[in-house]
Subunit: 305 residues, 2 copies
């Protein structure tokens, strides 16, 4: 095996992903598990990390760079926040060391937006952002990182000027499972997604965000009155929430602000469909690739060759 | 006891309310229970009604007028819908009889809005509407009936020109119990409502409805960064959803459209606070009074003296 140079860890609330990186960023090994912060806070962060490093036989002198909820107050070591506005490159400089370890382990900080009207925080997505745009991007850009809590970041010439969290994924789950709409979507199968119902709902919520909680109800009334299918109802809920998110994320952005979508899998498909239907200018970068690139940028800044 | 003339029943999904009415609309007796449609569908609608009539010793010749989910497909007898646009007075004429009963029992129809883009239905609220405005109202009016599923009805010269359901109450429950915000509101007590946080959230969502799912998240980020209390977080969720509802309900209504609020108790207080803060012109009618008046109007139309 080629010599490993550092280990990169994306350690979120419910997932753990580790890459062993060699010279020139080559991936020498990879580990994935469900030992996110919630689990590791019980079983011990040091033990979880050690078991994965042992599985890949990583020598003791190879350092570790990590990001995500591992740096939260409830995490391993609190890594604090960098307050925005802040340059993307400042993320590279804010890592904290985990004390009393035989190995050099650093955890990257999150971002905080402290203004009274729109307080917000992120942990992990700042590293995806760094990986997606690099530290020296030019012009005005919007970066969309969809998920349980979608994050939208506005960047001007390499500086994060603001960001917003939208509870899209979690609202979708809560609404689909714990409201009257649970009956409407009961027999929906992911394989039979209703693309046209999704697009119509995205557009309706994007154009009239004030009607969001009414548009959600049409998943039920559409079944009562128009025979909407379960897949159609599911698409309507999902489309409404994604359309609402996009409307909010871009409402004060100039037209034609380019969007970078950091996503993968099913979510990537949904957001691409929505962006195309709304004629947004966008590019895509895979979410795993983005976070790994961000971790690598930090590792190279902290441990230059 | 004075002679009873008819019995009025508001029979919803989860509640049963009955009034025994005498000459000139005098209330001679009253019953309330949790035997709504969901329960009565199992134990039998006829038996539930009979037990309450027996408790008030209502003679066999006194007829019954009912409204609400008792007339749904899953109810006692399906009472259908009147399609809007329709005059409020048409509700008076659409009652169906329950067959094979020794007593004359009628159930009022609901309202349906069948257009493809905004399908909607109501059962029970049409009777509140009738009671709140009467059959002959003049001018343009908006009627707000808040609840699990808030209904807003737009009326022009006694005609229902459109209505919308907003899932406000149910979203509040699902979000408060089944998302990350459940931690934020965990220790909130209803007694310690945070009025200023509520008003700020109403205004923020009313002005920028597109930011609704972000404003919800600030119930958490406001705690992380600004020490927002549990009561403040709860007020922020409630205010965001109510502000979003009002924005949607009035977005295409002319300014100064008078609003009739049909509500009681805690919800009445919240909506009055919101309406005042948004400088809306409104009047209030108690929800029970409204439905009883509507049932009485129907009874007098069906069984004129």
């Amino acid at each position: 095996m080629a010599n490993p140079v550092y280990v990169a860890v994306d350690w979120g609330t419910s997932s753990f992903r580790l890459w062993l990186i060699g010279k020139d960023g080559r991936i020498l090994g990879e580990r994935r598990s469900g030992e996110g912060m919630t689990t590791a806070a019980k079983t011990g962060f040091a033990d979880v990390l050690a078991s994965h490093l042992a599985a890949l036989s990583v020598p003791q002198n190879v350092p570790v760079i990590a990001c995500g909820m591992v740096g939260a107050k409830q995490g391993w070591v609190e890594a604090g926040y960098i307050d925005v506005p802040a340059s993307i490159s400042s993320i590279l400089t804010g890592a904290v060391s985990v004390a009393d370890q035989s190995r050099d382990i650093r955890i990257l900080p999150g971002l905080a937006q402290r203004d009274k009207a729109s307080p917000d925080v992120m942990r992990g997505e700042e590293t995806q952002l760094l990986g997606a745009l690099g530290p020296d991007s030019r012009g005005l850009q919007a970066v969309c990182m969809p998920g349980t809590h979608s994050k939208w970041v506005h960047v001007q010439d390499g500086e994060v000027i603001g960001f917003s969290t939208f509870m899209t994924g979690e609202l979708f789950d809560a609404i689909s499972k714990h409201t009257i709409l649970s009956h409407a979507v009961a027999s929906a199968e992911a394989a039979q997604a209703d693309n046209s119902a999704f697009k119509a709902a995205v557009l309706a919520a994007f154009r009239q965000p004030a009607m969001a909680s009414n548009l959600l109800f049409t998943a039920r009334s559409g079944q009562l009155l128009h025979g909407l299918t379960a897949a159609g109802a599911q698409a309507r809920i999902s489309g409404t929430l994604i359309g609402l998110e996009i409307a909010g994320a871009l409402f004060d952005a100039p037209n034609d602000t380019p969007v970078t979508l950091v996503a993968s899998g099913r979510l990537q498909g949904l957001y691409e469909t929505a962006f195309k239907f709304l004629s947004l200018k966008y590019t895509v970068i895979d979410a795993d690739t983005a976070v790994r690139r961000g971790l690598s940028a930090a590792a190279e800044a902290i441990w230059p060759n």
